[in-house]
Symmetry: C2
């Protein structure tokens, strides 16, 4: 099944726009696990087990695994998600951006080694840096457009001589000539709802991955209103609203997975309420 079809399925089955971001920081693991990177899989698997019926997607962030040499645990985690939550697609948050034969190697890492359904990518090197990922039929390629950090403005908000801003140009390319196989999505931060609305206007059909609710402070209701879903006359592409730390570290005791479930369910309901 394609990434886009899997998203639609998970949204319907779990009635959710919420994506749980898996950013496992051993320093924040609960109780006796604290500081023990060898328990990264165990920590994440319990979160997956307790939230898999509440989400549209899971999004492991590869940096947290790479920092402690936990690549084998990441392989195991993604296999576990596919096994235990087969309806929920996995977005590997890697923000890769390279060219030619190097991009081919990264695509192999993401889709062959880790078996993710989609990956986040930087578009700074242009279409020929994206194309190697699109050769994997049905897989998703989600391009950074307007990120949730203040520094995103340094380049993404610059105005071009055409009148567009850089992030608007990225959205236009992604929705247009670059989207040769219907595989492209965009990352827009929940902290910038006006930019979400603008991107949705330029790219009505594309999946939008929207991190930044929770710890980063994006407002879930504003996010949904900005990114969702057109009018009765028109349906737009899905939105995937991602929260990481506010779910993972909702509790700091032995019941951390139950606390994560409660936090995820609250976020899911808040997003659903904003749909009405």
């Amino acid at each position: 099944m394609s990434f886009v079809a899997a998203l639609a399925g998970a949204e319907r089955i779990n009635r959710s726009l919420l994506c749980v971001g898996l950013d496992p920081d051993p320093a924040r693991f609960p109780g006796a696990m604290k500081g023990d990177a060898s328990r990264t899989f165990e920590f994440c698997a319990a979160i997956v087990e307790h939230t898999k019926d509440l989400v549209i997607a899971f999004k492991p962030q590869i940096a947290y695994f790479a920092a402690s040499g936990a690549e084998a645990q990441l392989e195991r985690l993604i296999a576990y998600i596919h096994d235990t939550a087969p309806d929920v697609p996995v977005i590997l948050d890697a923000k890769r951006g390279d060219m030619g034969s190097t991009a081919e190697q990264y695509a192999r890492e993401v889709f062959v080694r880790y078996k993710a359904d989609a990956v986040t990518l930087s578009p700074l090197l242009g279409f020929d840096s994206i194309e190697p990922y699109l050769r994997y039929e049905g897989k998703g390629a989600i391009l950074l457009c307007r990120t949730s950090n203040p520094g995103g403005a340094d380049l993404q908000d610059l105005r071009l001589d055409s009148g567009e801003k850089v992030y608007e140009r990225i959205a236009r390319l992604a929705a247009g000539t670059w989207n040769t196989g219907g595989q492209i999505g965009l990352v827009v931060g929940a902290t910038y709802p006006a930019e979400i609305a603008r991107v949705r206007e330029i790219a009505p059909e594309l999946p939008l991955l929207i991190p930044g609710i929770g710890v980063q402070g994006g407002d879930p209701a504003a996010t949904v209103r900005s990114g969702w879903r057109g009018t009765a006359e028109r349906t737009t592409g899905p939105i995937i609203v991602s929260s990481s730390r506010a779910v993972l570290y909702a509790g700091s005791g032995a019941d951390y997975a139950e606390a994560a479930r409660a936090a995820a369910d609250a976020a899911r309901r808040e997003l659903a309420a904003a749909l009405v």
Copy 2:
């Protein structure tokens, strides 16, 4: 020793501007090694051993290790370079670009886990995505500016309403307010000598990492003339001219490391001749 000081030392000791890029593709390994990713360290170590007195830097490309799960071999390779060629700095080509606590994790991966001297980074997320790397005193952060691929033009060559192009803005930020500790360099492709000259004008003091000679077709002499080094009145920052496949795969037999040495020495001499 800082990355910038190490570069100056290696340039002087080896009388070289050449950087050998370590892009180990098992499909191109010679003879009985062919296709065997478990011999990645062995393949690269022989190249290092045969070229270490000819280079200003080594640049392992992490994608080639990640695609086949060879992270432990990359750790071992960088330790080997530090051990066997202590004067030659290591640039980890990773093109990371992420924010906040995720950028901190990537910085940890690069500088604590792999113990690289410098890393390539994407500036698309702005200064707050670069700053976590600068906290590692003396380490280098080399930002993508005008990459060597044609698709680089898609965004990097766009003209802003200020009259600058995007890559010129990146160079100006990198040479100015972003360069708080003298750690920043820029990537400019050898395939675009006019852009190298322009970047050198904007950022006279910064190290320039220039890939794209060899297989990609950049002209070494034009590269050196564009990037180097000002006039008798003024000395500019170093240039690091990188070649990967033309060195690594110069031979396809048991003597591949000797062939790599010959190719590297020829490239080194060609670069040196263009200096005059």
